[in-house]
């Protein structure tokens, strides 16, 4: 069963490539934000799985909870930028 857990964990790591591609290559800033959000939600599960691999889940649940919360804060802060400043391409593509 532990072997199966590690297979699932590696599978999740490999799935992370697709959001990471969106995150690195995304045409706009908001696409990157979507990618980061998706990476965050996969990592929460991955942390729990690592806990099962070490057979000490009770230690990893705290980290996963903190992680989910701080992912929320970071995404909210970055998207609030656009609520206060107008323009998607404003300055960086002027030249």
């Amino acid at each position: 069963m532990i072997y199966f857990f590690s297979c699932i964990a590696v599978g999740l790591c490999l799935i992370m490539i697709l959001p990471l591609y969106r995150c690195l290559m995304g045409p706009t800033v908001l696409d990157r934000l979507v990618g980061v959000n998706a990476i965050g939600s996969k990592t929460v599960v991955l942390l729990l799985l690592i806990g099962y691999l070490y057979e000490r889940v009770d230690m990893f649940v705290d980290i996963a909870l903190a992680y989910a919360f701080l992912n929320f804060v970071a995404v909210l802060a970055a998207s609030r930028y656009f609520h206060k400043r107008k323009g998607l391409y404003e300055e960086s593509f002027m030249e």
Binding site: M1, F4, I8, G11, L12, I15, M16, I17, L18, P19, Y21, R22, T28, L30, D31, L33, V34, G35, N37, A38, S41, K42, V44, V45, L48, L49, Y52, V57, D58, V61, A64, L65, A68, F69, F72, V75, L76, S79, R80, Y81, F82, H83, K86, G87, L88
Partner: protein, 111 residues
């Protein structure tokens, strides 16, 4: 009994993996920012729910008070994500609207 628990847990985990793959492929394939958010925000939420449920079922192998509290704690993560994830999605969509990103539509493609 142990075999039933294992089968349930494995099927839940594989189901969650399918949801995560769906979310990741959707992020790649969808044509624009708004439609990308649909798979990203929600297939991932359900994926977390299914996978954590699978892990909690696996916990039933060693049943004790500590394990039950641990399972409740793991469901606390799911509760949190169910509240936070739609809000984050909504916030990103709102940011896109304020920034003036035009939604992709079917008609534009035909013309």
């Amino acid at each position: 009994m142990h075999i039933i628990i294992n089968i349930l847990s494995v099927s839940c985990l594989l189901m969650g993996l399918v949801f995560f793959i769906g979310g990741a492929v959707g992020i790649m394939r969808m044509p624009d920012f708004y439609s990308r958010l649909h798979p990203a925000g929600k297939l991932d939420t359900l994926g977390i729910f299914t996978m954590v449920a699978g892990l909690v079922i696996y916990n039933f192998h060693h049943l004790s008070l500590g394990m039950v509290l641990l399972s409740i704690k793991m469901f606390l993560i799911v509760f949190f994500v169910f509240l936070a994830s739609p809000t984050a999605t909504h916030s990103i969509v709102d940011a896109g609207m304020r920034a003036g990103l035009r939604p992709w539509t079917q008609k534009k493609e035909k013309e």
